[in-house]
């Protein structure tokens, strides 16, 4: 039990904007009052709901491949030394699992969504998630290039495909559906891509990326999955790709959709030499269409490692940079590419990318629909979020940063014309309340009675990056996990899953198809429930999902 008195509370889920308010905690949740337990005087300090990351890559085959590929970074990065209660590990571009938990909690984030899990490596991903302490976790399963589902869509068997989709979500012990470069990753198995919504998908005659996107979004809605279709659009990273993105948005009118790392999909121009920001055009469309949410996928200058299921893009990035390239193909389902990358302010393309991420965050006017992300580790590592918060809250600081960009950046970005500065209330929305709502986790990002007592206490500080990088206290389930930079406790978090309903005959239908295609037996494919620690099954409500 715990009493937090005198703090200035920012709780957008309950419309509380900087009110001095006492908080009471019992059994891991907020309660209306308690007289017992420790009292923490938060007078003069700022209280936020714990951060929620709607899109990150912290566990599974691809980030683990990235770890293997970057020993040179591990050597220069922060080391976590073992203590009696803490495991050792390494921070950096692709932090190890234990360090991932400590680093996220260390800046006040308490829930994360691992955004890309092939069913085949779901068992591995859950084993890693279990080794990430403190945080509550969910994961999304990759479905837009799954051969069995694409074959059914090709044959017009949409209803059957929906049951198979639901079956796969449960087999992967997943929380929702991710679509990456729909059709493009399947084409990559042939060394090809599918850049536009009407592109040919290698190996298919009828379906196109547009068809896959449309059908998947409708299936996700009709199954009542709490989080909408989580979409990584086709044609990521390419100059002029804003056309594809807008076309995708138009395709999805009438469905819910979450657009992942929109920064990578908001470019104009014809080639790398003429590439420019189209964030304004995209934001305008987005603002007028409340069926969509997005996360920024913002870029910060510095070293990182890029990992994505978008195999063809990673091959291009390897050719552009000449750096290391890792490629994984996952039979029948998806693939993944890994390329270390350095974003440089002197590089015009990188400078545009940096500006686009901020522009989207500043030009999308509803903070409930745009969320802070860097698509960790693609745009920057998650532990650099405080730097982005500073860029959003301080126009002067932004201008100082812009002054260091090459002069040719002029006319390619609109950031210099934007004066908006985020308020603390808006920051609490884009880092916590908003993503929690989009994920369909109503007990997260919310300081109301009965909600999970995951929250952060910050010192007021003019230096915004320092303020958000060094919380005074971080609480997870009512327990102090970080106290002035010290890891006090590292409790095991939960894992959120869903079990959408599907036809009980699905197993019988799928088994022969599966055994035709896969080199493992059908019985070994689904992840066993015993492997999930502290599993929490969230409801699917088909009537609720669309409003």
């Amino acid at each position: 039990m715990l009493r937090i008195i005198g703090g200035t509370v920012y709780d957008p889920a309950n419309g509380i904007n900087g009110e001095v308010k006492d908080l009471y905690v019992a059994d891991g949740r907020f309660v209306s009052k308690t007289e017992e337990g420790q009292t923490i005087d938060a007078t003069g300090m700022v209280i936020f709901p714990g951060g929620v990351d709607v899109h990150t890559h912290v566990a599974g085959g691809s980030i683990n491949f990235a770890r293997a590929m970057t020993p040179e970074d591990h050597r220069r990065t922060q080391a976590f030394i073992r203590t009696k209660t803490r495991r050792s590990g390494l921070g950096g571009m692709a932090p190890t699992t234990f360090a991932t938990g400590y680093l996220y909690a260390g800046m006040g984030w308490t829930t994360v969504n691992e955004a890309a899990v092939p069913v085949l490596s779901a068992r591995h991903t859950h084993e890693e998630l279990r080794d990430i302490p403190i945080l509550d976790k969910s994961s999304l399963v990759l479905m837009a290039n799954n051969e069995i589902i694409l074959d059914l869509l090709e044959d017009g068997e949409d209803e059957r495909a929906k049951h198979i989709l639901a079956w796969h979500i449960w087999a992967a012990k997943s929380y929702g559906v991710k679509a990456v470069n729909p059709g493009g990753v399947a084409s990559w198995k042939w060394g090809k891509d599918a850049k536009h919504l009407s592109s040919k998908i290698e190996g298919y005659d009828h379906i196109t990326p547009g068809v896959i996107i449309n059908k998947l979004a409708k299936m996700v809605d009709s199954l009542g999955i709490p989080h909408p279709l989580h979409l990584h659009c086709n044609n990521l990273g390419a100059p002029g790709n804003v056309e594809t993105t807008l076309e995708t948005m138009r395709h999805l009118e009438g469905s819910r959709a979450h657009f992942a790392h929109l920064q990578y999909h908001a470019y104009g121009g014809d080639d790398w030499g003429t590439m420019k920001s189209e964030a304004a055009q995209l934001a305008e469309y987005f603002n007028a269409h409340p069926n969509m949410t997005t996360d920024a996928g913002a870029v910060l200058f510095g070293d990182t490692v890029t990992i994505t299921a978008d195999g063809p893009w990673q091959h291009l990035l390897y050719k552009l940079t000449g750096r290391k390239w890792g490629n994984l193909d996952v039979e029948n389902e998806t693939g993944c590419g890994i390329v270390p990358y350095t974003y440089r302010p002197s590089n015009l393309v990188n400078a545009v990318q940096w500006a686009v991420g901020l522009e989207l965050l500043l030009l999308i006017n509803d903070p409930w629909r745009v969320f802070l992300s860097t698509d960790h580790p693609n745009g920057a590592c998650f532990w650099r979020y405080p730097e982005i918060i500073q860029l959003l809250m301080c126009a002067d600081f932004r201008n100082d940063c812009m002054a260091k960009l090459p002069p040719e950046i002029k006319n390619r970005i609109t950031l210099p014309e934007i004066n908006r500065e985020y308020t603390l209330y808006e920051i609490a929305t884009i880092t916590s309340a908003g993503p929690a709502k989009a994920l369909g986790l109503p007990h997260k990002g919310n300081l109301g009675i009965g909600k999970d007592a995951d929250f952060v206490i910050y010192h007021h500080d003019k230096d915004i990056a320092r303020m958000f990088g060094h919380p005074r206290y971080v609480f997870k389930g009512g327990e102090i996990v970080i106290d002035d930079g010290e890891i006090r406790e590292a409790p095991q978090g939960r894992e959120y899953l869903i079990k959408p309903s599907y036809d009980p005959n699905t197993d019988d239908f799928l088994k022969p198809l599966f055994e035709d295609r896969y080199c493992m037996s059908f019985e070994n494919y689904p992840v066993e429930m015993e492997r999930i620690e502290h599993a929490q099954i969230q409801n699917c409500d088909a009537t609720d999902a669309t409003n």
């Binding site: 922060q78 030394i81 050792s88 994984l328």
Partner: protein, 280 residues
């Protein structure tokens, strides 16, 4: 072999090329066998890379590898025509003259082949669950093997912290061996050191290492009499279900009990709390 939508005739739709220094049993299963001269893997791979890019290579240079220009030209043709090429490689490449340079040459060749068609390379792993150990070490420490924890956090340096190097130098005063038989394969000084220090072996069988160990704990064989997880060489984890019962405990149980017993002992580590902002 697996039949599939795109390879309906299974094995008949695939082409297998074997490259080795001698004609092994695998050669019979291959469509094409290329006998490379021992120690010339790097040269052969480099010449292939050059020829693929259309660079001039002399017949004499090719001859040094034990092959001919015609044979390599034919190989390149087949590779470029493949819809999906995979190069599997093992210790014959990574543990012979050139070592990691051979592997690097092969990986570069695979990357460069993607200018023409889809191509990947994948290491053939050894016996047992080598891949599983490698995968888990990576997520917990960032490194696959050759890791030292003696400063309290993981450090990596193959050649310094690899098991064989530590044993040869005599840097360890105790050894705990699980799922391996270094007594059968390691150089003599390493084996002598294992015999000198208290060595503890967990193994279902009597092995070379168990014979020289101070303690051998017999465990139930994983996947036969103990459950668990094995990682395939493509890093896909497979659940292992025991078919038999065993009177012996699993490796996992033995390690857990040793860990619990050690936790009772006074801790040699610092009492300092873990700070997270020291270097960020």
């Amino acid at each position: 072999m697996q039949k599939s939508k795109f390879l309906p005739r299974g094995r008949k739709d695939r082409t297998v090329v074997l490259v080795d220094i001698r004609e092994t049993k695998s050669a019979k299963a291959a469509d094409l066998f290329l006998q490379v001269r021992p120690g010339k893997d790097f040269e052969m791979l480099t010449i292939l890379r050059a020829m693929i890019k259309g660079e001039h290579v002399t017949d004499d240079q090719v001859a040094e590898t034990g092959l001919t220009t015609d044979v390599l030209q034919d190989l390149i043709e087949r590779m470029k025509k493949a819809k999906f090429g995979v190069m599997f490689f093992g210790m014959g490449l990574s543990m012979t003259r050139g070592k990691h340079m051979n592997a690097a040459a092969l990986l570069t060749l695979a990357a460069e082949m993607n200018a023409f068609t889809k191509f990947v390379a994948m290491p053939m792993r050894g016996h047992g669950n080598v891949t599983g150990a490698d995968v888990i070490m990576r997520w917990q420490t960032g490194y696959p093997f050759g890791i030292s924890f003696n400063r309290g956090y993981p450090r990596y340096n193959p050649g310094e912290f690899s098991t064989v190097d530590i044993l040869v130098r005599g840097d360890t005063d105790c050894a705990f061996i699980i799922g391996a038989d270094p007594g059968a394969t390691m150089p003599r000084p390493a084996i002598e050191h294992l015999a000198k220090v208290p060595t503890i072996v967990l193994d279902p069988h009597v092995t070379h290492t168990s014979r020289l160990s101070r303690v051998h704990i017999t465990t139930a064989p994983a996947g036969i009499a103990a459950p668990g997880t094995g990682y395939r060489m493509d890093e896909v984890p497979m659940p292992l279900r025991p078919a038999l019962n065993s009177p012996y405990p699993s490796d996992e149980e033995v390690i857990r009990r040793i860990k619990e017993a050690i936790a009772e002992k006074p801790d040699w580590m610092t009492d300092q709390p873990q700070m997270i902002f020291s270097q960020v």
